[in-house]
Symmetry: C2
Subunit: 218 residues, 2 copies
């Protein structure tokens, strides 16, 4: 009766978890054995109570008044929580600069994440390898997603072909999509999606800068 965890965790919390994990590992590497929520909060510029709540949501043991959380256990719990030991695999469609960047990105491994293959419609690209991973023809998306048994698909194609790619992925059994193409994809309700519109992020940042500059004062 003491493993009763909240059934679901807020999206924002989830987003923060990998960041905690990274920091926890860094502390462990520095030889620490315990960490307090307050310390972590200071390190990351977050609110202490927020950190405490987040940690409590994943930790299998209670924190220790006076000394905080045992690092080792906390790291293990968080890795379990994030499924770091589950070898979460994905494929990426669209092997342009961005697709290449993702295929070569080293930080994924630390979370048990890996992109196992790529697809591209350009016959000059299909058949090559990037960072040791094979690139297949885009016509084989459905077939190979099914065969590989992957459930996460990454879309880094131009907007014009993204919906088509997405449909092919879904047919192949993809359940979660990380979409970098700047458009709204039509998908069934039970498919999970994260949209990563780089131009929109950039524009929003520049908009905030303007807003601050134009503000009378603070």
């Amino acid at each position: 009766m003491d493993d009763a965890k909240p059934l679901s965790i807020s999206r924002q919390s989830l987003q923060r978890m990998p960041i905690y994990l990274e920091n926890l590992k860094k502390l462990r590497a520095a030889g620490k054995s315990h960490v307090s929520a307050a310390f972590l909060a200071g390190e990351l510029g977050l609110h202490p109570v927020q950190v405490r709540k987040d940690l409590a949501a994943v930790s299998s043991v209670d924190g220790n008044p006076r000394i905080g959380f045992a690092l080792a256990g906390l790291i293990e719990d968080m890795e379990d929580f994030l499924g770091c030991n589950n070898a979460n695999e994905a494929v990426v469609v669209g092997v342009g600069n961005l697709g290449r960047a993702l295929l070569s990105y080293k930080n994924f491994a630390g979370y048990g994440l890996s992109i196992i293959a790529g697809f591209d419609s350009d016959p000059a690209v299909a058949g090559t390898t990037v960072h040791g991973k094979e690139i297949f023809s885009a016509s084989r998306i459905t077939e190979l997603c099914g065969r590989f048994g992957v459930h996460i698909g990454i879309i880094t194609t131009p907007a014009s072909s993204a919906q088509e790619v997405c449909d092919a992925m879904l047919l192949g059994g993809i359940k979660a999509i990380w979409n970098f193409a700047p458009l709204h994809l039509n998908i069934p309700d039970d498919i999970i999606i994260t949209n990563e519109n780089l131009a929109a992020s950039f524009a929003a940042l520049s908009g905030r800068l303007r807003q601050q500059r134009d503000a009378p004062k603070l």
Copy 2:
């Protein structure tokens, strides 16, 4: 007295603006002259009232009951709002795959955004050009940011050098940072920052997938 706009707009709204803009342009290209908030909402999977509020926040004229908003005016207002005509310039430090991807990204232009130069500490990279843009030695960040008069800096270096790069940028007059390095940067309060942790996003997506799968049912 009819240009009284809310002084500030929510971060989330701001994030949506570029998406509206993109869609509005598409509608214009399709020959439409007016659009209703309800239609846009349907198109983008958002709540109609939310869209209405967002549009009202930037539109200089009221929407028209019965027919909606005039596309032309709305596009113009939104471009003004986002500063699309202001040629917002940025530099990127770290010309690896990701830096290259951003330097070559075509969608920025539509929002008046451009990355005008890159920096890299690798002497083999400094001195080259990417997508027609010069890459300079990382030792010249402070000097050239100042000389170019740019206010937005993009960090795509490894985490280990990101803080150093950030400091150099701030000295060079950078006011807003788009950070892709997976770490928490220490910056003064008046500097605007957007953190774009790719591994964290990926991990969070995979976490949501797990959570859905593990859920008893819905």
